[in-house]
């Protein structure tokens, strides 16, 4: 096993009385992607800020390629790139001017900077817009420029804080392709995300955090296996029927009735078999659903499964499900 590119040991960060990061530990091997998954306020961004030397840890230790983020911040800064949540580029400068500025601020020779800026603009499909002020860019273009800015000095370790939040599906898959390419060239990436799909697509390893603590750590495959790979949802005509449906579906897997009182959610490891079983069970009980859908679990489902409570994301307009009949839902707090 090679030396990890990023090592985090017992990291704690407090803001006054609030413990934002509460003793987390993980390693990221070189040339891999670690996905830090969690809802808003879980401590993802704080962790990234500590690892990128923007905040000092209160306890614990973190190193990037062997350099301690607290005691050797300049060494760490020279080898990391950061692309944050807000596309931190200057609106008034052109794309090219932004990259040249970062190039100069990372202390590269002027000639190298000019060439590198051109190369990145080309690679990220910004060559045509290179000499326009960023103010005129679309959201996706800004994100791509932001990522380019993080890459100007060819950092071997890259931190991406929710890189695709707010991007359209096309922009998202473009960015995923770029990230995968970087990793195949040897770059180590730590990326935070609220999307399970993104973690699954990109990450070799996923750390799920909630309230500043790690609640799960493993490969995306492990995680899915833990959560149940598929969710079957059935909508009934009324609450009484929903309760009956929940009862007849319970033997197939953990079920719950959503807050609307009429939707039953069944979590199963294996969709094909379970859907057939579910249909048979419902038919046998004489229950005709208004609709039935089969879907992949979301971060919300992962949370419900791992913590027994829903991820409290403000964007979450989904009905706060009432875990009824929540069979065998152990509150696992397995720090990895």
């Amino acid at each position: 096993m090679t030396e990890p590119a990023i090592r985090v040991e017992g990291l704690v960060k407090r803001f006054g009385d609030v413990v934002a990061v509460d003793g987390i530990s993980f390693d990221v091997p070189p040339a891999t992607i670690l996905g830090l998954l969690g809802p808003n306020g879980a401590g993802k961004t704080t962790t990234v800020r500590v690892l990128t030397t923007i905040l000092r840890p209160d306890e614990g230790r973190a190193t990037v390629l062997g350099h301690d983020v607290a005691t050797e911040p300049d060494e760490v800064r020279a080898i990391i790139g950061l692309a944050g949540q807000y596309a931190a580029v200057d609106d008034n400068l052109t794309g090219r001017e932004n990259l040249r500025m970062i190039g100069r601020l990372t202390h590269q020779p002027r000639a190298v900077v000019a060439e590198r800026a051109g190369e990145l603009l080309e690679r990220f499909g910004l060559a045509d817009a290179a000499d326009r002020p960023v103010r005129t860019y679309s959201g996706g273009m800004r994100r791509r420029l932001d990522l380019s800015a993080a890459l100007v000095h060819r950092p071997p370790v890259l931190f991406l804080d929710e890189p695709t939040t707010g991007l359209d599906p096309r922009g998202r898959s473009d960015l995923w392709a770029v990230i995968s390419e970087l990793v195949s060239d040897g770059t180590t990436v730590l990326l935070t995300t609220q999307y399970l799909e993104e973690a699954e697509r990109l990450a070799d390893d996923v750390v799920v955090i909630d309230g500043g603590r790690i609640i799960a750590h493993g490969t995306p495959h492990d995680l899915k296996a833990k959560v149940g790979a598929t969710i079957v949802e059935v909508r009934l005509a009324d609450a009484a029927n929903a309760q009956r449906a929940a009862t007849v579906l319970a033997p197939i897997g953990p079920t719950e009735v959503a807050a609307d009182g009429r939707t039953v959610r069944l979590t199963v490891p294996d969709a094909g078999r379970a859907v057939l079983d579910a249909v048979r069970a419902l038919d046998g009980a004489g229950l005709v659903p208004e609709w039935l859908t089969v879907r992949e679990p979301t971060l919300d489902d992962v949370f419900l499964q791992l913590t027994g409570h829903r991820a409290e994301t403000p964007a979450d307009t989904d009905d706060a499900a009432v875990p009824q009949l929540a069979a065998a839902r152990s509150r696992k707090r397995g720090a990895a």
């Binding site: 001017e97 601020l105 590269q108 060819r154």
Partner: protein, 272 residues
């Protein structure tokens, strides 16, 4: 574990080797350049920082001026020194607003993740604001000449006066840098700056002599930095005892930088 093959860790781009101080200067100039590009590309700030003093010139020269008694000095000559100092003092609010904007847009966060000098974002901003001040001062001089202002000393004294104004404005920019980093939004920085500006600029001898102010106010107005700067600029443009007034202003300016620059850098290091 997956993909932990023997892919070599990539090496970051080579850096140019210079001393820490040389890089601090280079970084500050890079940031100053960035802020100046913005100034010329989005000239609204420049227009705003010019329109306001022009209104003050017209207001005091033609509306209030007739009622203000400045023995031995034409009011327009008395006024323009006040206008210049007011302009650079109000101009310093831009430093705070600009930094607050950089903070809220996440740019400061990016800069803090780079191995650049910790002083550069602030030094670059205050330098760029000094360059803007110079431009506005020249514009205000032209406006002043248009409404009858005359320099009664000599061109060298005028250049010295401009130097004094610029350095005083630079010092005030460091005060406002603290306000900008402390508030973190452009609107809040603006709101927080206004009372400070009012107490400094209006409770001074910038527009009226302090002789008729009530005792305690007069005691304050006679001994605060804006009055000192206005006195120095008046001495350099109208005449009279000069050296002591210029030295007093330089002392104030150095003192303000010595206190507020390290405070701002400290705040910059810690602001998340």
């Amino acid at each position: 574990m997956t993909a932990t093959t023997a892919t070599p860790i990539p090496v970051p781009a080579p850096v140019e080797h210079r001393s820490k101080i040389a890089w601090a200067v280079s970084d500050a100039l890079t940031i100053a350049q960035r802020n100046l590009i913005a100034l010329f590309r989005v000239p609204t700030t420049l227009v705003f920082s010019t329109v306001q003093p022009v209104i003050f010139v017209l207001l005091f020269r033609y509306v209030f001026g007739g009622a203000i008694n400045t023995p031995g000095v034409r009011y327009v000559d008395f006024l323009m020194a006040g206008i210049f100092v007011q302009t650079v003092t109000f101009g310093s609010v831009n430093t705070g607003v600009g930094l607050a904007e950089d903070l809220s847009k996440g740019l400061i966060e990016r800069f803090r993740s780079l191995a650049m000098a910790r002083s550069a974002v602030l030094a670059g901003r205050t330098l760029a604001d000094s360059a803007r001040n110079l431009l506005v001062i020249v514009l205000m001089l032209l406006v002043g000449f248009g409404v009858g202002f005359r320099v009664h000393t000599n061109p060298f004294a005028l250049v010295a006066a401009i130097g004094v104004m610029l350095f005083f404005g630079f010092a005030m920019s460091w005060v406002m840098a603290n306000v900008g980093l402390g508030t973190g939004s452009a609107e809040a920085a603006q709101a927080a700056a206004f009372p400070v500006m009012a107490i400094l600029v209006f409770a001074s001898n910038a527009f009226v002599p302090t002789t008729n102010m009530p005792g305690p106010l007069r005691a304050y107005a006679d001994h605060q930095p804006v009055t000192a700067a206005v006195n120095a600029v008046r001495a350099l443009t109208i005449g009279g005892p000069t050296a002591g007034r210029v030295l007093a202003t330089l002392a104030w300016s150095f003192g303000i930088v010595a206190v507020f620059a390290p405070l701002a850098v400290r705040r910059y290091r810690r602001t998340a």
